[in-house]
């Protein structure tokens, strides 16, 4: 009798923890679904651009290393910093797409699908939970999303709030919503 109660309590506590984790991930997902993230986390080889997420001008392609094709390298136009001009390329050092060997595709996935892709080392660039937290906290590309240059929206949460909700998601067990 006592054992059954303990098991039920544990199950209930686990459910509650999962719910907290999933709630935190919903907030995280609102950032991951922003154009600043999705425009380059794309299936296929052609990135998107702008808040309208239209196909990138110039028939830009991912290329063998994620940095474009011969004579059409990303850094031919994208510099180490944003251009201050409207409609000119945004920038940060080593502008690129994820490489074809690990394309980190989110565009087209459900929130549950992005969650699974993000926590699976086979689809997240081989990162552990600790590395994921470090990545969202400090990676210059992630931080660029909150400083994207003129004419581009920023994600719906502040970077601090995003990192905080990301940690909550991981620390509560990195649960993913059901489809």
């Amino acid at each position: 009798m006592f054992a059954m109660t303990t098991a039920k309590y544990r199950a209930s506590a686990q459910t509650q923890k999962d719910e907290e984790s999933i709630r935190a991930f919903s907030a995280v997902a609102s950032v991951l679904l922003s154009p600043r993230c999705l425009n380059c986390h794309i299936p296929g080889d052609s990135p998107l651009q702008g808040d309208a997420q239209t196909p990138h001008n110039m028939n830009v392609k991912r290329g063998p290393d994620g940095r474009g094709t011969p004579a059409m390298r990303c850094t031919n136009c994208h510099q180490a910093t944003n251009s201050s001009q409207l409609h000119a390329p945004p920038g940060r050092p080593d502008w690129r797409l994820p490489p074809p060997s690990m394309p980190l595709v989110w565009k087209g996935l459900s929130v549950a699908g992005i969650c699974r892709a993000l926590k699976d080392p086979a689809t997240n660039g081989g990162m552990t939970s600790a590395q994921l937290i470090e990545h969202v906290s400090d990676d210059p590309f992630v931080n660029w999303a909150w400083n994207p240059g003129p004419g581009r929206s920023v994600p719906p949460l502040s970077h601090d709030e995003f990192v905080s909700r990301f940690k909550e998601w991981i620390e509560a067990g990195a649960a993913c919503p059901k489809e």
Binding site: N57, M58, N59, V60, K61, T69, P70, A71, M72, R73, T75, N76, C77, Q79, A80, S83, Q85, L86, H87, A88, P89
Partner: protein
């Protein structure tokens, strides 16, 4: 004013210039290399394409500080007598109409051919789709790139 050192068309140059000046204006206004054209000024058209360390960069977007200590090649640096295979091919195929975009097209083509000596049609399209031609000379450009590849194989300078 800061001094920036770079190599342009094989020649070492020293510029007294604001390091945030676009390379395009360093080339045109400070070095009088006006073959490189100002098109859109926002990295969308390719008219200002030059070669920086083997890459076909948009010189309106590249700050001159990025080129410091590096080598830049402009249309004037391809050859002294228009004998470069890409220039020859452009003449043979009579590519230009108004000509404004063509120095950028040629520079992008030289970068393509350096890494793909015998490019396919789709590789040419991929490489040059960032260079816009309002006259619509794209079919002649594609033919000229194939011709340049052939000339280079035959050993034209």
């Amino acid at each position: 004013m800061d001094k920036t050192h770079l190599t342009v068309n094989g020649k070492a140059v020293e510029l007294e210039i604001d390091p945030t000046t676009p390379l395009l204006w360093a080339l045109r206004d400070h070095l009088n290399l006006t073959g490189t054209k100002y098109g859109c000024g926002i990295g969308q058209c390719g008219a200002c394409t030059v070669v920086l360390e083997g890459n076909a960069v948009r010189s309106c977007q590249v700050l001159v500080s990025r080129a410091a200590g590096k080598g830049v090649t402009t249309i004037e640096g391809l050859s002294k007598d228009r004998s470069h295979p890409v220039q020859q091919a452009w003449l043979m195929e009579q590519v230009p109409q108004c000509g404004y975009c063509q120095s950028g097209q040629i520079m992008a083509a030289t970068v393509l051919l350096a890494s793909k000596p015998d490019p396919s049609d789709s590789e040419i399209d991929d490489a040059l789709s960032g260079n816009i031609c309002r006259c619509g000379t794209y079919h002649r450009i594609r033919r000229a790139v194939h011709r340049a590849a052939e000339l280079a194989r035959k050993g034209t300078k």
